[in-house]
């Protein structure tokens, strides 16, 4: 495992398998009466969220607390960031307070990478601009593997606003690493021009793909990141690329409907489709806690940097 989790490109297939296997044990912890283990007692995890978030922030907070780490939640409003303190100065402050791990969400792509240059602790990317959201991808991979028994060879469509979606990027990279067969589907204006270099296929026809899918993954239309001219109207978007009741009826038996949330019901997914039995949107949320526990445990539970030779750097071990 790398020292930081910034991108799904940081994780090999073996790393992903290890994270998912370990997450399985943490799922069991989540079913106990006492949902807490002492694994990370005395470590400090800072949730540094400079962009709005409900599920990711709460999920990371719960994950760290269930590992007995101390958690500090830190957001733009109510902190010195609103007084104009720079990212670097804020990061150095967190560093000075002894953060062992910093979970960062930021509207600028690449800010987690920037952060790694200033702090000594582990950095986990909880979503940066339109770049990546690796923990979402991992919880999605976990959910697919749990429900369908494998990842290799799965036929997955990622549908909608791929252009603005860090989830689509991370999930595509992760699925390709694990040997799945990925198709990005959306209006041509919302498919990034470099998508063919990701190792995925691109299509503009959802109806043609639907009957052959194992997973239909719907993306949120990110109206806050969009200019208005990407598609003519919400109604047309829904008609061409929304998961309607009729389309859900054509999905093969046993296939999954997924969505990273928050949903725009009636836009990318019809309200009653989101509540169908094959929709695993709530399980995704539950699995997110276990997957984030797994990542925090694997990162903070190791004694230091593991170099190319698999040897710990002695100074790091001593420091821990």
């Amino acid at each position: 495992m790398n020292r930081h989790v910034l991108s799904m490109h940081d994780l090999t297939a073996d790393d992903v398998t290890r994270v998912l296997d370990t997450a399985e044990s943490f799922r069991e912890v989540g079913t106990r009466v006492i949902k807490k283990v002492p694994a990370l007692r005395g470590r400090t995890v800072v949730n540094f969220f400079l962009e709005n978030s409900t599920r990711t922030r709460i999920s990371f907070e719960l994950a760290a607390k269930r590992l007995s780490a101390d958690v500090i939640n830190f957001s733009a409003g109510g902190s010195s960031v609103s007084k104009g303190e720079s990212l670097k100065d804020t990061a150095l402050t967190l560093q000075a307070m002894g953060a062992d791990a910093i979970v960062i969400r930021h509207s600028s792509s690449g800010s987690p990478l920037q952060l790694t240059k200033w702090v000594e602790g582990h950095v986990l990317n909880a979503g940066d601009g339109t770049h990546e959201h690796p923990t979402q991808a991992l919880l999605d991979l976990y959910t697919m593997r749990e429900k369908l028994g494998r990842l290799e060879g799965l036929r997955v469509a990622i549908v909608g606003d791929v252009l603005h979606s860090r989830v689509a990027r991370s999930l595509s990279f992760g699925l390709v690493t694990m040997g799945a067969d990925v198709t990005l589907i959306g209006p041509p204006t919302l498919i990034p021009p470099d998508a063919p270099t990701w190792g995925v296929q691109v299509s503009y026809d959802l109806d043609a793909a639907i009957p052959k899918l194992d997973v239909c993954y719907m993306l949120r239309v990110q109206r806050e990141r969009q200019r208005l001219e990407y598609f003519p109207s919400v109604r047309e978007y829904n008609r061409l690329f929304g998961l309607t009741g009729a389309r859900a009826g054509i999905l093969p038996e046993g296939s999954l409907i997924m969505h990273p949330g928050p949903m725009n019901r009636g836009v990318e997914i019809d309200s009653d489709v989101a509540d169908l039995p094959q929709s695993v949107i709530e399980e995704q949320v539950t699995n997110g806690i276990a997957v984030r526990m797994s990542l925090l445990y694997l990162l903070l539970g190791s004694g230091g940097v593991v170099g190319a030779g698999g040897q710990a750097v002695p100074g790091e071990v001593a420091r821990a």
């Binding site: 044990s25 912890v29 694994a39 190791s302 004694g303 230091g304």
Partner: protein, 186 residues
């Protein structure tokens, strides 16, 4: 260069487990309240065999759980890699029961300390006892076993290994002496 010496073979292990099963029954005059909890990765297999023995001898069905102590270790963050995690499945309320922890080798006692902390998170047993196949000494904590298959004097850096057929294909306890280990490494 010496190969690993065998401390217990398959028959020895079978006899030791049979004796421990008798002792568990004798200690509490029956096995009605007993729950066996094996510590992953080998204690759980030994616990299942003990349960089968107790059922054969006494006719009492004894529940078996498996406990992974990784999250309760005292050396997390001291090793290069985070320790590998195994399954935990208790499957029964242990409150008010007699829990017999089962492990393959008793050494420093740190695993058992972690196991007791883990157990308490699942309930409040009336008592916790400890059964081990091999006690090799060198305790670092004030912990002792209630039921022991064999006491083996070892040097601190000897390598004691328990094989169970479910995982390793054979039943055996071997010891490789520290001097021999160094020779192999050289």
């Amino acid at each position: 260069m010496s190969v690993a010496g065998t401390l217990l073979d398959a028959d020895d292990i079978r006899r030791a487990l049979t004796r421990i099963a008798h002792e568990i029954i004798e200690r509490d005059k029956g096995a009605a309240d007993v729950v066996l909890v094996g510590i992953a990765n080998r204690g759980d297999h030994l616990a299942r065999r003990l349960a089968a023995e107790i059922e054969r001898i006494e006719g009492t069905h004894v529940p078996v759980g498996v406990l992974d102590i990784t999250f309760y270790r005292d050396d997390i963050g001291l090793r290069a890699e985070a320790p590998e995690v195994h399954e935990t499945r208790i499957g029964i309320d242990i409150s008010g029961r007699t829990v017999v922890l089962v492990d393959d080798v008793l050494f420093t006692g740190r695993t058992i300390r972690a196991a007791m902390d883990a157990l308490i998170d699942f309930g409040r047993p009336d008592r916790i006892r400890l059964a081990v196949l091999v006690d090799r000494g060198h305790r670092e904590l004030p912990i002792r076993a209630d039921f022991v298959g064999k006491n083996v004097p070892t040097r601190r850096d000897d390598d004691v290994r328990v094989h169970v057929r479910e995982l390793d294909g054979d039943d055996a306890v071997t010891v490789q002496e520290a001097a021999a280990i160094q020779e192999v490494h050289r």
